[in-house]
Symmetry: C2
Subunit: 294 residues, 2 copies
């Protein structure tokens, strides 16, 4: 039942992403490169979170759909740029050659730029087309814009780049991940809530929920890099170590890290209790994130 609902949401996102990226213009190569990375097999976690928090508050998920897709476009841009030779220099992502390996560095940089910009194009047009909801959409866009900028993803990536082959303190590592990964997960949940017309109290509770699962998500990522199955991960196990990346497993060890993931998720789920039955899907999704294998 949960899996079915999850698949339903993922398919909604998939279809809308195809609609957005079905662009038959010149120069074709840039649209091809953008599609390559967007359709390289992502789990659509962020868009699903966005749709789910909208639904949780009784909102119309159709109105959250363009917002959810804009988030995925921005997330994909950040992956393309992270993989570049000047950054992490990754050859594989989700088991496939990275964007610059297929299209070259110049096009990969521009495909990333194009996806970031397209995310905003989608958001702005959505607001223009729905004047009755413009304030909700602008609040959602503001949330996403802050998370995508230097106070979010970009700031986190700068710290990541600067700290390679360095031992970090717990606070430094947390700062990095709260920015690099946590911020957009938080924005996904809050943006969906804004679309549903959330009160500031509801935003506050959902933001806290999102922070906890975002943190659990990152620790789980670090664990999978040590004990995951390469085939399912789509990349080499141990790649963090190879790249000189310091992780939560380095600080706490495997066992304690696994306990933390469970505890953070349980605390996150507790916050959802106030929303009653409607929170069922988001609760199951939170547990699903613990059990994931990639």
């Amino acid at each position: 039942m949960f899996k079915e609902k999850l698949r339903e949401k993922q398919q909604l996102v998939e279809k809308e992403l195809h609609r957005i990226l079905d662009i038959d213009e010149k120069p074709e190569i840039i649209y091809e490169a953008m599609r390559y990375s967007v359709f390289a097999g992502g789990k659509r976690l962020r868009p699903v979170l966005c749709l789910s928090s909208c639904e949780l508050l009784g909102g119309d998920i159709k109105k959250a759909l363009p917002v959810a897709c804009a988030i995925e476009l921005i997330h994909t841009y950040s992956l393309i740029h992270d993989d570049l030779p000047a950054m992490d220099n990754d050859d594989l992502r989700r088991g496939k050659p990275t964007n610059h390996k297929v299209y070259g560095e110049a096009i990969a940089i521009l495909a990333g730029d194009g996806l970031l910009n397209l995310g905003y194009e989608v958001l702005v047009r959505h607001a223009l087309e729905h004047p009755e909801d413009y304030e909700r959409i602008l609040k959602a866009t503001n949330e996403i814009a802050t998370a995508s900028g230097c106070k979010g993803i970009i700031g986190g990536q700068v710290v990541d780049i600067l700290s390679q082959n360095t031992e970090l303190t717990y606070e430094e590592l947390k700062f990095m991940h709260e920015h690099k990964t946590g911020a957009l997960i938080e924005a996904s949940v809050c943006a969906g809530a804004y679309i549903a017309g959330a009160t500031e109290e509801e935003i506050h509770a959902l933001r806290e929920y999102a922070r906890l699962i975002g943190f659990a998500f990152q620790i789980k990522d670090d664990i999978l890099d040590v004990i995951g199955e390469e085939e399912k991960l789509g990349k080499k196990v141990g790649s963090d170590k190879e790249k000189g990346k310091f992780t939560f497993v380095n600080i706490f060890g495997l066992e304690k890290s696994q306990e933390m993931v469970v505890e953070l998720t349980q605390n996150a789920i507790k916050i959802l209790d106030r929303f009653g039955e409607k929170a069922e899907f988001l609760k199951e999704l939170s547990n699903y994130l613990i059990e994931r294998v990639n």
Copy 2:
């Protein structure tokens, strides 16, 4: 008198850009890198065009100021990414070392990303803070977003990259520049007009004006690359040829190119006649662009 008015507008933009970029947060290096390129001595042509077209229609230029600055942030991002080793591989821009020469490639890519994103942050916050003008601001933002994406700057840059060391037809060269440079000049003029509450007829006329000066601007750039003074240009004369770039001077020769700049500008100025006395500044600005030395 014209020069004074121009300086006034440039100073307004300068002050607002400083306000926007006066960010004292971690990681400091990313904000420093962003400021480095934004304050590397640009002429602020696009923001001035935006303020001027707003003023032309009797709008409040204070309301156009954040929009004008967002355009300059986005323009600066495009320059940083254009200069990267994977793109034009330029060491100098406006007589100073390019961003990646000072901060390294990774930070330069991220500083570009940060400026593009910051442009949207500024636009979205401006709309949220001025609910009475949200529709005008959203229309301006939509104009800018289209010009900055694959149908504008990014598409033009892709063609530029793909066509190095290739002879282009007039149509191909025009396509490239209309996207790479023309689109954002057009968006600057139209965005300012939208902020003033322009009618669709006014937008239509100003768009035509902007296309003509945008085209003249690019031909003038190509001419300066052949006969400019290096000190004033801030880069080597003949750098287009060195980089295997095909230009309008290649197609038409110097004399005909210079005639075209004058004719395009005269036609552009004629369009402004319908706006009466209020168009005086924009007319003088158009002539100023012909006479520029950098």
